[in-house]
């Protein structure tokens, strides 16, 4: 990677090198976009739809995407399914094992925000972007396989904005902390119940149930 970076940087600095740079970028981005090999990080329900997307009926191999279980050979991590606190270190490690350049697709509500498990759960991570810079989000519980194919095509458009020159690289859309200190600070903010952070506990209102909706136990039920 370092060599490619250096070539990119020197091309950018050379007068007139931009012409070569853009042509090289066009080729590189085309090839990267055409072969987005997916790391199936299938943890729960969405993994079924992920499998469906790679099999006969949907076949995203048409786009050059196919699943390889080894993180070293993959370009895009498809986070499919609920992520728990126990699973988080494993995913983090697999993400770190993937070689640059790499992208992430958050498939399904659970990896977008925690989904149906947002409230009341003591073990679910509320969104994969708490620890992985996600590029494309797919909503749905679970999303249809077509949505995954669409996400791959959207990701391809993002890839086409990339460049081999570090200066011209696309800004990663990430809310992730840049340093460990910042991460700890955020964690603390999350922990205190009084904070106004996004993960502050909602106020619990104990209201009486309206009488008209209460089941009549002696009735026709």
């Amino acid at each position: 990677m370092a060599l490619v970076d250096r070539i990119g940087t020197s091309l950018e600095r050379t007068p007139g090198g931009g012409i070569i740079l853009t042509s090289v970028d066009a080729l590189v981005d085309w090839s990267r976009g055409q072969s987005l090999w997916a790391m199936p990080m299938g943890t729960a329900c969405c993994a079924m739809e992920f499998i469906a997307a790679s099999f006969s009926k949907f076949d995203y191999d048409r786009l050059g995407t196919f699943p390889r279980p080894d993180p070293r050979h993959c370009d895009v991590m498809v986070l499919a399914g609920t992520i728990t606190e126990k699973m988080k270190p494993a995913i983090q490690r697999l993400w770190d094992q993937m070689p640059e350049p790499k992208w992430a697709i958050a498939m399904g509500n659970c990896t977008v925000s925690g989904g149906i498990f947002y409230y009341d759960s003591y073990s679910v991570v509320r969104g994969a972007d708490e620890f992985i810079p996600v590029d494309v989000y797919i909503a749905g519980c679970p999303p249809r396989p077509e949505s995954l194919i669409d996400a791959v095509m959207q990701l391809r458009e993002l890839v086409h904005e990339e460049s081999i020159a570090p200066g011209k690289r696309r800004e990663r859309n990430t809310k992730l902390p840049r340093s460990k200190a910042e991460a700890n600070e955020r964690m603390e903010a999350m922990r205190t119940p009084e904070s106004d952070g996004p993960h502050a506990p909602a106020k619990v209102v104990n209201k009486e149930f309206p009488s008209d909706v209460i089941a009549d136990e002696g009735g026709e039920v």
Binding site: M1, V4, L27, V28, W30, S31, R32, Q34, S35, F55, S56, D59, D61, R62, L63, G64, F66, R68, P69, D70, R72, H73, D75, Q97, P99, E100, P101, I164
Partner: protein
Amino acid sequence: MSSFAMGAFWGLAAGLLIAIAALIGVWMERKVAGRIHMRIGPLEAGPFGLLQTLADTVKLVLKEDITPAAADVRPFRLAPFVVFVPIASSLAVIPYAVGWAPFDISAGVLFFMAVPSLSVIGILAAGWASRNTFATIGGIRGAAQMVSYELPRTLSVLAACMLAGSISMTGVLDAWRPWWLIVLAPAFIVYFIASIAEVNRGPFDLPEAEAELVAGYFADYSGIRWAIFMMAEYGGVVAASLFGAVVFFGRGLGLGGVPGALLFVFFAFALTTAMMWVKWTFPRVRPDQLMTLAWKVLTPIALVELLVVGVIASWML
């Protein structure tokens, strides 16, 4: 000096050939697998997805080249080349035209049998140097498998050599007669099965068994180095197919000129496709079954075949 230049030229040519063979091989594999799986396979990159492998290659070359922190750096980095070079050089002895091979030596068959086996060192080194349990198991499996299947494979080819009375590739080709097809049929089957095992492909892809070992001995390789491993694998498939077409089908049923060349390509392609078909149809065997097959089934068959051919040869010639 000139011989060195010649060597460099043919080395380069073989490297280029194997690269092209791998490019087509990977594309073909994905298309063949797609057809077996009731799907289409690569479609978007170029016509019929023909440029798919090109895109993959460019991407892999520009990918980050990771050396794990715990790895034994030098063997780790060298291993892909140790696997690749013997297989690439084995292509040099194949007679592409009648009476002509790039590297036409008197012991061509021996060369083809012996040199690709050197890649076992690379596989073992890759598995060991990765410092990864999956890779280690994969490397050890790969070494055991390749060493074991060497024997039936060589014995089966030896039958053809006995009939020809030569171990030169062009010599075997010159001596080829259509009735060999019948006599050598068992030897061909042994050769085909042993070749699949020799190039570590399904159902004998134990060193890289996806379900158990994730990717086996190359589990920790990324980018260009992994691409070289893959190229070596597909190069091995192509080399085994070409060799099989020469020795057992007499390079296109012994026909000269264009029809023979076309038939030669056809046979080689058919063998490659058959290897892919087998891979995508059968379950994977277990390591002990693999060894049983090599030592208790294939080797005896090859020996009996050798005996039969020996009798026929002494009677015919």
